[in-house]
Amino acid sequence: MNAGPFRSLGEKPPILMTPEALDGMLTLDSYRSMESGYEGLEKVLKEKTPAEVTDDVTRSGLRGRGGAGFSAGMKWGFIPKDTGKPVYLVCNADEGEPGTFKDRWLLRHTPHRLIEGILIASYAIGCNRAFIYMREEFAMEAIRLQACLDEARREGLMGADILGSGWECEISIFTGAGAYICGEETALLSSIEGRRGYPRVRPPFPAIIGLYGCPTIINNVETLSNLPVIARRDSDWYASYGTDKSTGTRLFSISGRVARPGVYEVEMGVPWSALLDDLAGGPSRNRPFKALYPGGSSTPMLTAEEAGGSTIDFESAMDLGTFLGSGGTIVLDSEDDIVDATLNVARFYNNESCGQCTPCREGCRWILQIVQRIASGHGTAEDIDLLLDVTGHIEGNTICAFGDGAVAPIASAVVKFRSEFEARVGGAQQ
């Protein structure tokens, strides 16, 4: 797979996809010698209180890399003090958003960095038992990660009295059983508790009532993988990357009609062309780009022109009415049919809706049926508006963000490429 080249605003080195990481730091020795592995943890345990670590991470500006983009340190700060209950940390490694494969890269190449990140986060929130929720399909990654956990335990980095600090922490891998919805953080908790992967109503947020009814933080693989370097250097160094409100770098997995699909790291704030053209090599078929799902298929589609005039950071994405999501960019070119792409996406969400809320369960099926009708040339002009109407009744009316995510690519496609839908109705055939 293509991976590695980095684009920054200035002349900065990569943070996550370092040359050493590209080679793979699979053993404790290699992680220690090549990247001063576990020095960040040692520094944190020796020099800082949990509250100080949380403050540092808040100051670094690190925001969640799983989709929502919420401040990591602020999220940790929601853990109530002195409830008498255990606190849990769960690493979300249930990567499944269409177009997203960057966490898999991190799991494969820098497993010890993730373990160190989990330990630092656990220390900060007062957790002594952390779980890694990994999708079952990542068997090779789970085997590799378990070997690293075993190694960490042997070296006194996991278990009791870590690095002589008196602090203890256990980490276990929990594998799912195939359900996209379990990447949603509260569905993930239901799954660990041995239930159907149904999301839960918020509030209460998991930080207050989470796993087994206890305060719980769920962080994404990439978010956690950024913690060791923040601990080892400092939050100002991390915040020197990126823009004011979108600090650091971001991994993007890019696929579709690009010459070099793969995983790339970019500094926040670089133009989209740095990712689409410089790193991913531009169009794969000598045809101009037409559209892209910027952060996975549940983020509103952008036209190539919109992306071309914008930069990669949380605020610019919001200005365009979309999100960076999980950093899974799928690119379409001028030969790709938006209706066909929309059909594929509609099928996915219909198939993966957990079925708990009526608007999503029924609505995703209706959306699929309407798009199928349009795609097969049997639709009418009214179907196009009906499609928008149905999406409007799902959005905001469901327990979790799945419903919003399921309609975002549909509604944005209809609004931005309405002529392609119109060309398919009223007998116009492919």
Binding site: A139, A177, A179, Y180, P261
Partner: protein, 180 residues
């Protein structure tokens, strides 16, 4: 009821018990192990899991029917999954699927008459940069070409592991910490 977990399965469950504050967290693991051991999650198997974990049968059945990778109906000895999500579709996943359908003479969701192979479609396998992706049991095949279909089927028919995969057809050994 004559059905009983093997000693091996019990050992895995016992080891995992220490990792979770509540035993119900073992349910998904127990169902996976049961499927491995008994073939599929029949009513009898679900009852056994329910009594072993002291969880109501209705709850066990609810979980068993929720997750894509748990199966209450018999399936083939091997499962070929072809990703049909967008990036794989753009990269030719459909041609791969059509070739498998043609060579096996079965559709998605069906099993060959000899019970050897079940063909199914999969949703995003997080393999979009090297699309299209195919899984044979737990073995990942990236940048899969339609020409490879025949080779994969032949290998399975001859009892060999198809070449070119990630090399972990058996999946993650849940609970077997540091076994290998």
């Amino acid at each position: 009821m004559g059905l009983q977990f093997s000693v091996h399965t019990r050992e895995i469950l016992e080891a995992a018990r220490n990792e979770y504050p509540e035993p119900r967290s073992l349910l998904i693991l127990a169902l996976k192990l049961a499927e491995k051991e008994f073939g599929h999650l029949s009513n009898e198997v679900l009852s056994h899991v329910a009594s072993e974990l002291e969880i109501p049968e209705s709850v066990v059945a609810g979980v068993a029917t929720f997750y894509h990778n748990l199966h209450t109906q018999p399936r083939g000895k091997h499962v070929i999954s072809v990703c049909r999500t967008l990036s794989c579709d753009l990269a030719g996943g459909r041609e791969v699927a059509e070739r498998f359908i043609e060579l096996l003479g079965i559709d998605f969701g069906e099993t060959t008459k000899d019970g050897l192979i079940t063909l199914q479609s999969a949703e995003c396998l997080a393999c979009c940069g090297t699309a299209p992706a195919v899984q044979v049991d737990f073995d990942y095949f990236e940048s899969f070409r339609p020409q490879q279909c025949k080779e994969v089927i032949e290998a399975l028919r001859q009892g060999r592991q198809p070449p070119g995969g990630s090399g972990v057809p058996g999946g993650w050994p849940d609970g077997q910490k540091g076994a290998e």
